[in-house]
């Protein structure tokens, strides 16, 4: 089968069955449940340690009300990290390259932070629209700008994740194609390009984890303002 560069971004369907459901569910089996034991094996120990470190990092700046969001946000982060990293393997489909999925994560969560803020402390939530210490003539303009920035947030969250992953995958494809084509023609150039590909792969691994973390971090920041 000859792959074109668009196949990796099409939601896979086999005989009319959408396989994206499998792509979304199967990463679950990679994370074992902690057994009913006091001392576990290395995988569960490391998993528990890293989750507790991440939770501590993200939720120390938040107050008690924000800690209620910990389960949701940390499980979302684990989900995104696993989806991103599994997508780097060959012939896999990365669900997070689909804008629909990322917007489906970003918009409801962002909206939830805004509504929580407006319900519980409307004055403070609206007060975030005006940064401290702005000179008097600038106030109307700044409020408009801040409102626009507020409504851009979900778009930014979703599109950031989509764009980073899509661009990364596309770059890997293109440079791998370059290597593949150059290999019979000019092997040395192919080797150089392969080294570029190696560095790019490293970058993509980093980006995969960082983008997921940034998604959650920004959501936690929005939460911090509003809770």
């Amino acid at each position: 089968m000859m792959l074109n560069f668009f196949d990796q971004f099409m939601s896979p369907v086999l005989l009319g069955i959408p396989l994206i459901a499998l792509a979304l569910l199967l990463p679950w089996i990679l994370f074992p449940n902690p057994a009913a034991r006091w001392i576990n094996n290395r995988l569960i120990t490391l998993q528990g340690w890293s989750i507790s470190q991440a939770t501590h990092q993200l939720f120390t700046p938040l107050n008690q009300g924000g800690h209620k969001w910990a389960t949701l946000l940390i499980s979302l982060m684990i989900f995104l990290i696993s989806l991103n990293l599994l997508g780097l393997l060959p012939y896999t489909f990365t669900p997070t390259t689909q804008l629909s999925l990322n917007m489906a994560f970003a918009v409801p969560l962002w909206l939830a932070t805004v509504i929580v803020g407006l319900r519980n402390q409307p004055t403070i939530a609206l007060g975030h629209l005006l940064p401290e210490g702005t000179p008097l003539p600038l106030i109307p303009v700044l409020i408009i700008i801040e409102t626009i920035s507020l409504f851009i947030r979900p778009l930014a969250l979703g599109v950031r994740l989509t764009a980073n992953l899509t661009a990364g995958h596309l770059l890997i494809q293109l440079i791998a194609t370059a290597v593949f084509v150059l290999l019979p023609l000019m092997p040395t150039v192919a080797i150089l390009t392969a080294s570029v590909l190696f560095l790019l792969t490293l970058l993509e691994v980093a980006v995969a984890m960082i983008q997921a973390y940034v998604f959650i971090l920004l959501l936690s920041l929005y939460l911090q303002e509003n809770v």
């Binding site: 340690w49 494809q173 791998a176 392969a194």
Partner: protein, 251 residues
């Protein structure tokens, strides 16, 4: 017949007492077919693998029929089959897969032992904390035993203390008794002295009385004639004495 009695009474005890039902359940621990206790221990290491991904059991499975090189031939054959029949086509994904494989293998080889040691350290720390508590408890109990032994040794020497105290008390009692005897002695002496004084007073008074009576009688018995003669004698004596004295003085 007695066994029937025992059975009937046991049954009655089971049904009546509040602990009876529980005691029956106690004897049936871990015997039902669904029981999972006690939980078997976790294996120390994961399953053995050859080259990181192929389980050792595959090699053991193929060994009797195809020997040591069997699984390798299987792998090479499969690869050749997929490539030659164009079931798997080499394309850009192969290159990117090779790149990804390099990254994964390098990171596992380089960071694997460190990560494993870190995970082991986390578990060790957990165990160590519990061990510390246990060691502390054991140490405090050992210290308690030492202190108790010291106390017992101390108690052995206590009889000396008791002897000293006993002697002390005996001495006090002795002193007290002696004081009292002394007091009694003094009192008795005072009484006796009183009696003696009384008697001597009595005798003296008798004596004085007798002397004064005798004197009175004597004085009263002196007649005026006798008194004149005695006075005249005294005068003549005095004159003679005065003469003698005068003679002595002139001589």
């Amino acid at each position: 017949m007695l066994s029937r009695l025992v059975l009937v009474s046991a049954n009655a005890a089971k049904n009546s007492s509040p602990l009876g039902a529980g005691l029956v359940q106690l004897s049936r621990l871990h015997t039902s077919p669904n029981s999972q206790a006690p939980v078997p221990p976790l294996p120390e290491k994961g399953g053995k693998t050859r080259h990181g991904i192929f389980p050792e059991e595959l090699f053991q499975l193929l060994y009797p029929k195809t020997g040591v090189t069997g699984p390798y031939m299987l792998g090479a054959g499969l690869l050749t089959y997929f490539l030659s029949k164009e079931i798997y086509i080499i394309n850009h994904e192969t290159i990117s897969a090779a790149c990804m494989a390099t990254v994964i293998i390098y990171s596992v080889k380089r960071f694997g032992p460190d990560v494993a040691a870190f995970a082991d350290k986390l578990n060790e720390e957990k165990l160590q904390k519990a061990e510390e508590v246990k060691a502390l408890a054991v140490a405090s109990l050992a210290q308690a035993i030492e202190d108790e032994k010291k106390e017992q040794w101390g108690v052995e020497g206590q009889h000396l203390l008791f002897d000293a105290k006993r002697n002390n008390v005996a001495m006090l009692l002795e002193t007290n008794w002696r004081e009292r005897v002394h007091t009694v002695h003094n009192e008795v002496k005072k009484r006796l002295d009183y009696q003696i004084a009384l008697q001597s007073l009595h005798r003296r008074m008798e004596q004085e009385h007798m002397v004064s009576w005798v004197e009175k009688n004597v004085v009263s018995s002196i007649t005026p004639q006798q008194e004149k003669t005695s006075i005249a004698k005294c005068i003549t004596d005095l004159k003679s004495l005065a003469k003698i004295q005068q003679a002595k003085a002139t001589v």
